[in-house]
């Protein structure tokens, strides 16, 4: 168990034709002892490369990675005392579950055989695969293989776990179960864990903190709620949350924002936050938009329902300012699943001033995040 530090870590790949591609650009992350950090981002953002550099499977172009205060840049993977779980599970197909789990201890320690056998049996029991020890991977279901892969990592009792999209090959239901189980397991073992995923739900639900990468650049590191409610920039705001945040490009006119379809009056604090930026992007999360049959007010707009997606607990409503257009521009709002609303209906959508985010249209940097004063999560975020 140890803290893991990434200090200005950069990875540059050189292609055959001499072109250089920066896969990871100057990433700094401090991961505390026993912390569960989720690295998340769209595919090709450099999250797997980062993980592979920590594992030692990829060289580090510049910067430093240290584990427990010791620089590990030059250490071969075998000497880093790190265990990794792969997306494909990467089990050894010709070995039984027991042999798969013993392999690491046999290769990396001087532990006597009987001690290895005890460790393997104990870990297998803990993972609920005690009765599968003599089977080959091909005879196991995907979920069982996943457990073996986890067990193989756990049995080595490493300083840190690295997980590369370990749940993405499971079906949705099993994935949800394993998500909870993994969290519980990690908390029990207290091993520093770096978990890579492209799935923002996994990131939100599993991590103590999440680190969001885009195009090799670290966008934000923070608790899930920080990233959700106080995003550093428009990318984070759009990536975290499902359905994602609505964005409206707006122009600044004195105390108001003017868009193609509507105008939005700013509060004094918001005006100050925007400063002298001319063009801003207004962001608002779907669940913050209220939808009423009728009404009015300074931040209420007459819109039409384009499509309703019922989810049972809630409805995702696609709203539009343009009626009767074939493929209208829409924004989404989520409303209670018990409310009945129909496509084509005229409704009034309110964008409450205390829940809007404002981003610089040029740089995407957050100028103003939603107010949390009236909510219960305030304490967690300070």
């Amino acid at each position: 168990m140890a803290e893991l530090t990434l200090d200005d870590v950069t990875k540059v790949f050189t292609e055959d034709d001499g072109n250089e591609i920066v896969a990871v650009d100057d990433v700094n992350i401090d991961i505390d002892d026993g912390e569960f950090l989720v690295l998340v981002g769209p595919s090709g953002c450099g999250k797997s490369t980062t993980l592979r550099m920590i594992a030692g499977l990829e060289t580090i172009t510049s910067g430093e990675i240290s584990l427990d205060g010791r620089r590990i840049n030059e250490k071969p993977p075998a000497e880093r005392d790190i265990a990794m779980v792969f997306q494909s599970y990467a089990l050894y197909p010709h070995m039984t579950v027991r042999e798969n789990m013993s392999f690491g201890l046999e290769e990396s320690t001087d532990m006597p055989d009987d001690e290895i056998a005890t460790h393997v049996s104990e870990t297998a029991e803990m993972m609920g695969i005690g009765d599968l020890l003599e089977r080959k991977p091909a005879d196991l279901s995907g979920g069982q293989q996943q457990r073996v892969a986890l067990g193989r990592a756990i049995v080595r009792d490493p300083e840190a776990f690295l997980m590369d999209e370990p749940l993405s090959n499971l079906d949705a239901k099993l994935r949800a179960t394993m998500r909870t189980e993994l969290q519980r397991l990690q908390a029990e073992l207290g091993v520093t864990t770096v978990y890579v995923t492209h799935d923002q739900t996994e990131a939100m639900t599993m991590g103590d903190r999440i680190a969001i990468l885009d195009d090799g650049v670290l966008q934000q590191v923070g608790t899930p709620l920080e990233c959700y409610h106080a995003p550093n920039n428009q990318f984070v705001a759009g990536f975290i949350g499902e359905p994602s945040m609505n964005f409206f490009p707006m122009d600044r006119r004195d105390d108001r924002l003017v868009g193609d379809r509507f105008e939005y009056e700013l509060t004094a604090a918001q005006r100050e936050a925007v400063g002298d930026a001319d063009r801003v992007t207004l962001g608002v999360r779907p669940e913050d938009i209220t939808v009423d049959i009728e009404g009015g007010g300074s931040h209420a707009y007459d819109v039409f329902v384009d499509v309703v997606e019922p989810r049972g607990d809630e409805n995702t409503v696609h709203l539009t300012f343009d009626r009767g257009v074939d493929e209208p521009e829409t924004f989404t709002a989520t409303i209670s699943g018990l409310r009945h609303i129909q496509a084509g209906e005229p409704v009034v959508a309110t964008l409450p001033p205390d829940s809007i985010h404002l981003f610089d249209a040029e740089t995407g940097v957050a100028l103003h995040n939603r107010s949390l004063e009236t909510t219960e999560v305030t304490e967690q975020l300070t």
Partner: protein, 308 residues
């Protein structure tokens, strides 16, 4: 099924034996006959009296029993063939078994080093391996003789080994042939193993590296056990190639006690009084038996390897 009035369509969908199936079986039977008749002919010929050989169709059972006058069959030509080829069979075995194992093992190691382990310049090395496949045998015959007889003093170097039991002075020629065949088998073996190793999961090898296994241990504990089907393919291929080779044997062994079975077979049953075809046929079948045996032994694994 009605009498000849049924159309093709009815035949296919109707009960009984659809026409398509009959055609299939007839074709299969014809193909089986096509492949088996030469062998059957060989067996029949090997049982025929040399004097009555030319008087009948070779694929029919002998009209006149082998031991004329007694009315009995005899496996005398087979017995004679084994006696006459004995030395050659032993020499071939001494040659083929080590050469096959060596070329398979070295090919697998080379392919592992050139595929799974990544290092700078490996493609260039691999290309030289592949180029080896295209060097015509004829082009190297003279250099090969020069190499083993004049450049490498293998004959004298081999002398001290002859004190060991069963080792004869002439065995140095077989050693030379083993090395030659191993070297010539390497490119194709490497190619076959490389194709196999490219399909292995990179993540699995990386998992083994993280598990603390060295390059050698990964080969020994992961790659080698997963190569078994490909070894069956390579063993069958190399065994047949080397066992059947005559050109290199003629070049390196030339003549003498070290002659392998293919060399002995050339002169078997040939004399001034004519050609003893039954003896030659029996000899050919005896010489072919070991390759057949290897197919039987590795056949199942071979099928797996080819399908993989």
């Amino acid at each position: 099924m009605s009498f000849g009035t049924s159309t093709d369509e009815e035949t296919e969908t109707g009960p009984g034996y659809p026409l398509r199936r009959i055609v299939l079986y007839v074709t299969l039977a014809a193909m089986a006959a096509f492949y088996l008749i030469p062998i059957e002919t060989g067996i029949m010929t090997s049982l025929t009296n040399p004097s009555s050989y030319s008087g009948q169709f070779p694929y029919l059972p002998p009209l006149e029993p082998l031991l004329s006058g007694t009315g009995e069959f005899s496996l005398q030509p087979w017995q004679n063939a084994v006696d006459l080829l004995g030395q050659g069979l032993v020499n071939s075995a001494i040659l083929v078994i080590p050469a096959t194992i060596l070329s398979g093992l070295l090919g697998s190691m080379a392919a592992y080093g050139l595929t799974t382990v990544s290092w700078r310049g490996q493609i260039a090395v691999y290309v030289t391996f592949v180029a080896g496949i295209f060097i015509p045998y004829q082009a190297v015959l003279v250099p090969l003789t020069q190499f083993w007889y004049n450049v490498v003093p293998l004959r004298t170097a081999f002398q001290p080994v002859t004190v060991l039991p069963f080792v004869q002075g002439y065995h140095w020629k077989l050693v030379a042939l083993i090395v030659t065949h191993t070297a010539y088998g390497l490119p194709i073996c490497t190619l076959l193993f490389r194709a196999h190793y490219k399909k292995l999961s990179d993540e699995m090898i990386e998992a083994a590296r993280l598990d603390g296994a060295s390059i050698y241990r990964i080969y020994r504990r992961i790659i080698l056990p997963l190569s078994v089907p490909m070894f069956a393919v390579v063993f069958i291929y190399q065994f047949t190639q080397i066992w059947n080779d005559l050109l290199f044997a003629l070049t390196i062994i030339q003549f003498g006690d070290a002659s392998v079975v293919t060399q002995e077979l050339v002169g078997l049953g040939v004399s001034q009084s004519g050609t003893n075809f039954p003896l030659r046929m029996a000899g050919a079948l005896v010489a072919a038996l070991p390759t057949l045996l290897v197919y039987v032994l590795f056949g199942e694994k071979f099928a797996k390897g080819v399908a993989a």
